[in-house]
């Protein structure tokens, strides 16, 4: 017997993940849109006449967000001026394809589009960065850079606010991650619906209470054009644990996601007064908000340009040491501290004043140290990279031990050889040149269930 919709008499098409209620397609659209509208109005996210940038990646969340913002702006007359804002990280085989989707969305929704790229902002694409840092920790770079890139893009456009497609699952997952990491400051911030009101351009999350599954369903039933592939560089194992836990919780009690957000909201007001919190200041170099002298992006960038890609990864005091503890960018005359950070075993160690460790030998060293901590599924590929790095050292590891970033680029260019070999040998390894291997269009990965939750 067909189950009928809980709101009208029509035949139900889906079971709402959030409540378990049966709904028909039209009623689901109504409820979904009404909820987002209510989130927006009750939190007074926007004021009439504001220009709002929609952070668009081409994925399901941002595509639905762009669609809804356009729709609700028109339906409820918010009086907003909407712009699509995309960040091009420079990941071949992933971002170039998803940006195509954004460009199609731009035409479908008739909104202006602005794309800012890592290359133009930082001089590095993610592909180049991954060649330096390897597959571990590369998400640190991407995340830090993207955050700033969005702000910089928004500043160029002169917008009042940025909306992002973070959904309830993302927020809940972040709460869990911050508890597991012991990061009380982020735990306090992560559940706020608007962040960065002081100094920076405010960011809003209109989907804060919207389930990921419902977003996927909405996109599916509305036949929205979105791009669905996981980033080729994101084997983030630890976050995966939190994700699995969250999905298991949801299967036990479907309200869990909202409950976690509620807990996060409560906890953010109950932090003890004597807990030491980082003080927010501005970066001495670029002026961006930062809790240290230099913002994370500047530290990471410095590391990349000096051939010390691990600079911003480990303990912050080490990075400050390596940067000479000062605001002056030119710190190449502090050899002692820098050597501490860099080479342990390569030839440049024997040179007393070698400031920077950008010989391939040093890369090898870095890789070795990262290998020891690597989780098992990556060890193979790292080992292969390491072999390649070693053989490369024999050929060119002679005298490139200088801090000239141009030399560094050359080195990285030479390592392109790595990727072709990788592709040939190990299909499981995410590799830069996997473009076109069935990753185009709206292929649905296991992570974003488009249809499987339909119980009828």
């Amino acid at each position: 017997m067909p189950i009928s919709c809980g709101l009208c008499e029509k035949r139900a098409m889906l079971k709402r993940p959030k409540t378990g209620g049966a709904l028909c397609k039209e009623c689901f659209f109504t409820v979904f849109e009404a909820e987002v509208h209510q989130t927006i109005t009750s939190a007074s996210l926007f004021k009439r006449g504001e220009t709002v940038a929609i952070a668009a990646s081409g994925g399901k969340d941002s595509t639905v967000l762009a669609h809804l913002m356009k729709l609700l702006n028109h339906r409820h007359d918010y009086g907003l001026n909407l712009i699509l804002l995309s960040v091009d990280e420079g990941i071949t085989g992933y971002r170039d394809d998803s940006l195509e989707t954004v460009k199609r969305n731009q035409q479908q929704y008739e909104l202006p589009l602005k794309v800012v790229s890592y290359k133009e902002l930082y001089g590095w694409t993610m592909d180049e960065i991954v060649r330096q840092i390897g597959l571990k920790n590369n998400c640190t770079f991407c995340g830090v850079f993207r955050r700033q890139a969005l702000d910089r893009g928004a500043m160029m456009l002169g917008v009042n606010k940025i909306v992002t497609g973070h959904n309830a699952d993302d927020v809940a997952e972040t709460v869990i991650m911050n508890v597991l990491r012991g990061d009380i400051a982020r735990l306090q911030r992560c559940t706020a619906i608007v962040t960065g009101t002081e100094g920076a351009i405010p960011r809003c999350k209109p989907f804060k209470y919207t389930y990921e599954k419902e977003i996927v369903m909405y996109a599916y039933f509305k036949k929205l054009d979105y791009f669905s592939t996981e980033c080729i560089y994101s084997p983030n194992a630890y976050r995966g644990h939190a994700r699995t836990y969250l999905k298991d919780l949801e299967s036990i009690r479907s309200t869990s996601i909202i409950d976690i957000i509620h807990s996060g909201e409560c906890m953010s007001v109950s932090v003890k007064k004597d807990v030491k919190m980082p003080t927010q200041g501005t970066c001495a170099r670029c002026g961006y908000i930062s809790s240290n002298e230099l913002c994370k992006a500047c530290v990471l960038l410095e590391g990349l340009n000096k051939g010390l890609p691990k600079l911003g990864i480990g303990k912050p005091h080490k990075a400050r040491l390596a940067l000479g503890l000062t605001n002056t960018p030119d710190t190449t005359t502090a050899p002692g501290s820098q050597r501490k950070e860099g080479c342990q075993s390569c030839s440049c160690r024997s040179r007393p004043y070698a400031a920077v460790s950008d010989t391939p030998g040093c890369n090898k060293d870095n890789r070795l140290s990262s290998q020891s901590k690597e989780d098992n599924r990556l060890t193979d590929s790292i080992a292969k990279q390491e072999e390649l790095g070693a053989s490369y050292t024999v050929g060119a590891g002679g005298d490139s031990c200088s801090c000239n970033s141009d030399v560094q680029r050359e080195t990285s260019a030479s390592t392109i050889g790595v990727k072709s070999v990788l592709c040939g040998q190990d299909k499981n390894t995410p590799c830069a040149c996997r473009k076109g291997k069935g990753q185009v269009g709206t292929r649905v990965t296991g992570d974003s269930p488009a249809v499987p939750d339909l119980d009828f």
């Binding site: 378990g20 209620g21 009404a34 209510q38 836990y245 807990s263």
Partner: protein
């Protein structure tokens, strides 16, 4: 012999090198016998000193327990509370007069056997006997109660025959009779035991049952303490248990009650304060202490014994945290320290609003946005038909978010016993 083949296999396995063989104690340099955390190895004496010192300094620093205070020790029979007993007993005997632990302890054991599936009267009786043996070895006064006692009327408990006190002077013969009387008593006083059983059977989810058990247990402990003039209750929750609790509380929407549920002192019941002195130890340390000091503990089946991993939020969280702990040994301590950074703001603006059930500060008023969205999301405005999860509308304002979820799983709130709101 059916496992002969396996024995052969183990013979061929390479011999495991004990790391302690080469290691020296970090304190005194003698040969170490155990490794507590990743690197620190201890010899026997130094470990005991470290463990005892940590326990005593935890009690001293917080200044919650005053000298000479009457303290009720909650003993479940498990390793953590057994270690707690042992620590208290040693603290009262050893050392100089000045350093001695000056409290007046009593013991309480809560028999939860009536709600465990497939745990018959014979087994229960045996379990209670084992526990009472352990409890009486301490020489402290022992109180035996059953979980269903919490459903009896509070005013009549003064004369309640179920709550028995066995003084240390009494012979073990008397105690055994007491135990027998207790275990048989369900047939005498059916009403409370049956009501308790029904309450648990009616609960739709194991998560709600767990919450209910936790709540009833602490209500009962506080009640026993009140009745016999104790002002503090010490429970044996270890750091491992508490970090699971922190995560589970977050998942159950009880983030506001988290500081009370997992902090050192829980003062929500007013005159009786629940203290968690074992919170600084992880389960591994406790089992090491128990091994070294030959502290006996018993295993009693609980509500979640032998259930699937995803049967309840608490059970899943336990598996999640202990799974992470294997590969990331700092998980428990990190989660625990995150929880320790949270506190209850004592400057409540409007009155003293507390949840009717768990007595934690109400969290529903703090975030009007969240709760409003949560409610409207159940059904669009103007239509409350069918799919609205009961949020205890009539009790609405007086239940916290987490408890309203529990009540929704327990069925109609009006049929719930009054003692839940006591």
């Amino acid at each position: 012999m059916e496992c002969g083949g396996q024995l052969d296999d183990t013979d061929k396995l390479p011999q495991r090198h004990l790391p302690t063989a080469q290691k020296k104690c970090v304190r005194c340099g003698k040969a170490a016998v155990l490794v507590v955390q990743t690197s620190a190895a201890f010899c026997r004496e130094c470990f005991l000193n470290y463990f005892t010192h940590k326990f005593r300094s935890g009690l001293g620093k917080t200044r919650v327990v005053q000298p000479g205070e009457r303290v009720l020790l909650a003993f479940s029979g498990g390793p953590s509370s057994a270690a707690l007993l042992h620590l208290v007993k040693r603290g009262m005997e050893e050392g100089t007069q000045k350093k001695r632990l000056r409290i007046e302890p009593g013991l309480v054991f809560v028999d939860e056997g009536s709600i465990v599936q497939g745990f018959d009267v014979g087994q229960r009786q045996k379990a209670v006997q084992t526990v009472s043996k352990l409890a009486e070895d301490t020489g402290f006064p022992v109180h035996f109660v059953m979980l269903e006692d919490v459903l009896t009327d509070e005013h009549s408990t003064e004369t309640d025959p179920l709550v028995t006190v066995s003084d240390s002077e009494e012979t073990s013969q008397d105690t055994t009779e007491d135990v027998e009387r207790q275990v048989k008593s369900p047939s005498i006083d059916d009403s409370s035991a049956d009501r308790l059983k029904r309450l648990f059977e009616d609960a739709k989810s194991l998560t709600a049952k767990e919450d209910l058990l936790q709540m009833l247990r602490s209500k009962l402990l506080v009640r026993v303490a009140r009745m016999h003039g104790y002002t503090k209750v010490m429970v044996g929750d270890s750091g491992t248990r508490l970090s699971v609790r922190i995560m589970a509380d977050i998942a159950k929407g009880r983030g506001a009650a988290l500081p009370l549920n997992t902090g050192f002192a829980d003062d929500r019941h007013g005159d009786v304060v629940i203290v968690r002195p074992m919170r600084d130890f992880i389960a591994k340390e406790i089992s090491m202490y128990n091994t070294i000091c030959q502290v006996e503990s018993v295993f009693l089946p609980m509500l979640t014994t032998k259930v699937a991993e995803k049967a309840s939020i608490g059970h899943l969280t336990e598996a999640f945290i202990s799974g992470l702990q294997v590969n990331f040994p700092s998980t428990v301590s990190t989660v625990f320290r995150t929880g320790a950074k949270l506190g209850v703001s004592h400057d409540q603006p409007e009155g003293h609003k507390r949840c009717a059930m768990c007595k934690a500060p109400l969290d529903t008023g703090q975030t009007p946005l969240q709760s409003s969205v949560y409610k409207t999301s159940l059904a669009p405005a103007g239509d409350d038909s069918g799919e609205c999860v009961a949020t205890g509308q009539d009790l609405g304002p007086s239940l916290c978010h987490g408890c309203s979820l529990t009540v929704a799983d327990l069925g109609d709130w009006s049929t719930l016993p009054d003692q839940l709101y006591a």
